[in-house]
């Protein structure tokens, strides 16, 4: 069981809201101004990033073992 963060770069406008509200500080903007995950393992699945993403560009989910 782990946490999976999905980012949709084609939707991301790089506003930085997700990174600002991430309690573990594991989100950042790349050189093109799009979100990327610096350390997925540190994610605690709080969902703050997804909750306030205005562009529906980030999703957090518990990985389900198949």
């Amino acid at each position: 069981m782990g946490i999976e963060i999905t980012t949709l770069k084609e939707r991301c406008k790089g506003c930085n809201i997700c990174a600002a509200f991430c309690p573990k500080k594991i989100l950042a903007m790349d050189t093109l101004g799009k979100v990327y995950v610096t350390d997925e393992k540190a994610c605690i699945n709080c969902g703050q990033c997804e909750l306030r993403c205005p562009d529906y560009a980030i999703y957090v989910e518990k990985k389900v073992e198949k």
């Binding site: 506003c15 990174a19 600002a20 509200f21 306030r52 993403c53 205005p54 529906y56």
Partner: protein, 271 residues
């Protein structure tokens, strides 16, 4: 892909709103409220005016109507009266709803017609580049108030209450989760509902007023929005920029389309 996304026209995304604009957060809350209520897409109509927030109608997967500036409420009134079975949701902005559409807003509330008005309040005219609206707080800067606005702002919730609305709530883009419930309750109310959603315009309002970036503006909401019960306990001097959120007012009152159905019955010889 989230389950509420069926209420979006996915092929229309990404939306046109600026980086950091809170409108996307509020629109998502509407989609989530629709999912919570299981709204029938065939029997729900979204009506909007003109402005940034009013572009939301085009992204939502229902019958949708993007009207003229200020006129969403009378268009919506026509739809509701023409087919009272329809759920009609109005998406509007602060300029659209309280300036050019101010008369329609108070008369919609007066009739207590079953519409749910979701007022995206970013305190500014965003689409035209940052002019002052009737909800720009006194002293705040806008391109048409370069020395700070000398106007007194409306409180749209108090306005709707005085005019006769039967459900009034206020939420913020920061409080995105409770906003979903506030909207869902508004849609469920059989009468005129107003949900004022405080949303950030970092480009045309925040920047000019040194409120920081989008995240900074959201933090401002988290610090200043106070649940109604707690807000009422604040002493006047503690209030400052603080404002109440949650369900601010509710009442039971006759709903217009139901009242008109009685007129039809009477005219047709019924009791």
């Amino acid at each position: 892909m989230r389950s509420y996304e069926k209420y979006f026209r996915m092929n229309r995304l990404p939306h046109i709103w600026c980086p950091g604009c809170g409108n996307g957060i509020v629109m998502k809350s509407i989609a989530k409220a629709a999912e919570q209520l299981g709204l029938d897409q065939d029997n729900t109509v979204i009506v909007s005016g003109i402005g940034c927030s009013s572009r939301a109608s085009g992204y939502m997967n229902f019958d949708t109507l993007h009207t003229a500036h200020g006129r969403a409420i009378p268009f919506a009134t026509g739809i509701k009266l023409a087919n009272p079975k329809l759920k009609v949701i109005v998406i509007t902005g602060d300029g659209d709803c309280t300036a050019i559409g101010g008369n329609h807003f108070i008369h919609g509330a007066r009739r207590n017609i079953d519409l749910t008005v979701i007022l995206f309040n970013n305190n500014i005219y965003g689409m035209t580049g940052g002019q002052a609206s009737p909800l720009t707080p006194t002293g705040k800067k806008a391109t048409t108030a370069p020395f700070g606005s000398v106007d007194t702002a409306f409180d749209p919730c108090e306005l709707a209450k005085a005019a006769g609305a039967s459900y009034i709530a206020r939420g913020t883009a920061f409080h995105a989760k409770p906003l979903v419930d506030l909207i869902a309750q508004g849609i469920s109310n059989n009468g005129f509902s107003l949900v004022e959603a405080i949303t950030q315009c970092p480009i045309s309002y925040g920047r000019r007023n040194k409120m920081g970036d989008a995240a900074g503006m959201l933090k401002w909401m988290s610090e200043n929005a106070v649940p109604l019960a707690a807000y009422e306990k604040l002493a006047e001097e503690q209030k400052g920029d603080k404002f109440p959120i949650g369900v601010l007012y509710q009442k039971t009152a006759p709903e217009y389309s139901a009242e008109y159905a009685k007129v039809i019955k009477l005219a047709q010889g019924g009791k």
